[in-house]
Symmetry: C2
Amino acid sequence: MTQEKLTPALFIGVQGNDYISFGSGQPDLPPPELVFKILPSYRDFRYGLIQGQVPLRKELAKQFKGATEDNIVITNGASEALDLTFKAIAKPGEKILLHQPYYYSYPPILENNYLKPVFTQTIKGKIDITDFDKKVRDCKAVLINSPSNPTGTVQEIKTLKEIEKLCKDLDITIVSDEVYKDLIYVRENYMLHGDHVITINSFSKTFAMCGLRVGYLYSNDPKIVERVVEIKTHSSMNTSILSQEMAYQATKVPKSYITEQTKIWEQRRDAIYEGLVKLGLDLWKPEGAFYVFPKVKNPRKTVWDLFKKHKVITYLGEWFGDDNRIRLSYALDIEKIEEGLKRIDLYFES
Amino acid sequence: MTQEKLTPALFIGVQGNDYISFGSGQPDLPPPELVFKILPSYRDFRYGLIQGQVPLRKELAKQFKGATEDNIVITNGASEALDLTFKAIAKPGEKILLHQPYYYSYPPILENNYLKPVFTQTIKGKIDITDFDKKVRDCKAVLINSPSNPTGTVQEIKTLKEIEKLCKDLDITIVSDEVYKDLIYVRENYMLHGDHVITINSFSKTFAMCGLRVGYLYSNDPKIVERVVEIKTHSSMNTSILSQEMAYQATKVPKSYITEQTKIWEQRRDAIYEGLVKLGLDLWKPEGAFYVFPKVKNPRKTVWDLFKKHKVITYLGEWFGDDNRIRLSYALDIEKIEEGLKRIDLYFES
C-alpha cells in the first residue's frame, strides 16, 4: 500500500489489534443472539430458490404496502441487489443520477455495467431539487441514499416527495438504497414509494450481519423482479441458504432491539461529533447512519499519516466524490472512539 | 408454467414429495459431517476480505503448482466466478467460444456482460479440434467444461493439450470450468494449465454444498485477480463468511471421501445408462459429472408430459444448445432412479 494507491479494499477485513478503525461501515456489536440459535441443528445444503427462501421473503414483504413475497428478491448483500437492479433496468450508455457525495461503490457498479454516472451536487449533504431537476431529465434512473453514506444526511421529506413526483412524471426509475433506514436520529425514515421505485436494503447494518451477506430488493413491477431473477439465475444462483436462514431469524427480533441499538449509535454520534468539533474540524452533524464527514487539509496525507503513524484507519473523501473531506465510521465503542480522537488530536497538533 | 415457457429456474429449488427429479444438478447425499461441526460455536459476523478468507485460499492454492493464496478468489459459487472472470477479461462485443452442447448458464452469463457467444460443434460431445481451430481465432477467450454438463463427456487429454498450445500461440484466454473435475469415471482429470488459463471450481458438486454457494477461481496473472477483486468489491463484497468456513472444513476431509463418492456416482451412472439403453434411447455413456443426455422425439412435449403426467422432472436439451435431447441428472439414489425409469418407460409406452 502506498499513499498514492489508497483504496477502500485495502482496509476491508483487515483487523489489527492496536488499530482504531474508523474505516469500514461495520457494526462492532454482534447480531441478535437469535440469529445463531439455529446453527447447531442446521443441516440443509441443497440449492434454494434463486429469488430467495419463501418465509424470509414473506416477512420482508410486510414492510411494503400491498406487497407479497413475489415482490422481493434476496441477494448477496445490498451490493448485489444494486448491481442486479441496474443490470435489469438500464442499457449500456444510459445515465444514472447520483447525489454527491455518494457511497464509493455506486460509480463502479454503474461503470462495470457500462452505465454513466451523472452527479447532482448537494448543499451540506441535502439534495438541491433545482439542480436535481436539471440533471435528472436525461437519466434512466436516479439512486437515492437516505440516510446517506458518507454524509450521515437524511433527506427532507418534502424533497423526497418532490423527487417521487418528478420521477413519476418523467417516467424515471428511483432506486432507493435504504440500508441505513433503521439508523436515523431525527425522525422516522420516509421510504420512497410508488410504481417507479425499487427499494434496496440489507441485514448488514440493522442486524450487524455484514459478513453473512444478505440483502434484498423490492419492486412492485413483476417484470423487473423477473428480469433480476433471470440474471441472478446465471450470475450467482441462490444467496447462501444458511445466511438466509439467519436473516430470517433476525426478522423475529422484537422492534425494541432496533430502538436500543439506535440509542447506542446516537451516543456514539454525539461523542465523535462533539470530539471533532472540539478539535476544530468543520463537519455536519449526522442525522442517520454512522458516519461523520469532516473537512481536512490534504485529506490523502491525513488518511495516510493517521494510518501509518497513529494506527487510525479513516477513509478518503475522494472515494465518495469529495476531495476536501475524510470519512470516519463511528461503528465502534465509546472507549475506542475516544482513544481514536486522542490520536487524531495528536496528529493535528504535530 | 406452460409447455411453451419452460425454463430451468421454474424447477430449481422446487422439492415435491412424490416427484422424481432428474432435473437440477444437485447431489442428494449430504456434505461431509465435518462441514456442520463448526456451526454450534460459530459467532463471526464481520465483513471478510473481498478476495476470501486466507486459510481457505491457502488450502485451495495447494492444487495449483506454484500458487499461493494470492492466486485464488472465493466467490458465490462457480456462477459468480464465471461472471466476474468474463467481466474482468473481456469488453462488450468481444467473442467467447463455447463447445456445444454447453451448460445453460454460459450464453446468458456472456450476454448479460454484452459478450457474444460463438459455438464450436462437438462430435458425440468431444471437441473437434479442426472446427475449434477455425472458430477460436477471433475470440477473446474460450470456455472449456470437462467433464461436461450436460453431456457427461470428458475431453481427451490430447485435445486439451492442443487447446492449451493453440490458445497460448494465439494469446487467447482459456476459462476452464472444472466443477466436475472430481466426478470422473474414466481417468484422472487433466487440469488445463498455463499462463493463459483461469480455472473455475466450486464446493457444490464434490462436497454437495450447492445451497451454500462457495466457488472460486484461480489465475496466475495478478492483474486478472486484482481486477476480479475490484469488481467484486462493489458487486457483492465478500462471499458469506460462514459458507466459506464450512468450505474450509470440507478441505480437511480425507481424499477417500471423494473416491467413495465417485463409486456411488458410478453405480448410479451404470443404472441409468443401462436403464435408458434398455428403453431404446440413443445416448452417450457418461465419463464424468452426473448427467445423461439422450435423444428423444419432441423433447419439449416429453419434458412437459413427464412432469405433468408422471411427476418426473427432466431438463430440455434446447437449454443446453441441443434441440433433439433431454438432460437427466442422476444425482439421486438407485431406488429413485429405478422408479423414475419405470415412469419414463410408462410414458414412452403410452
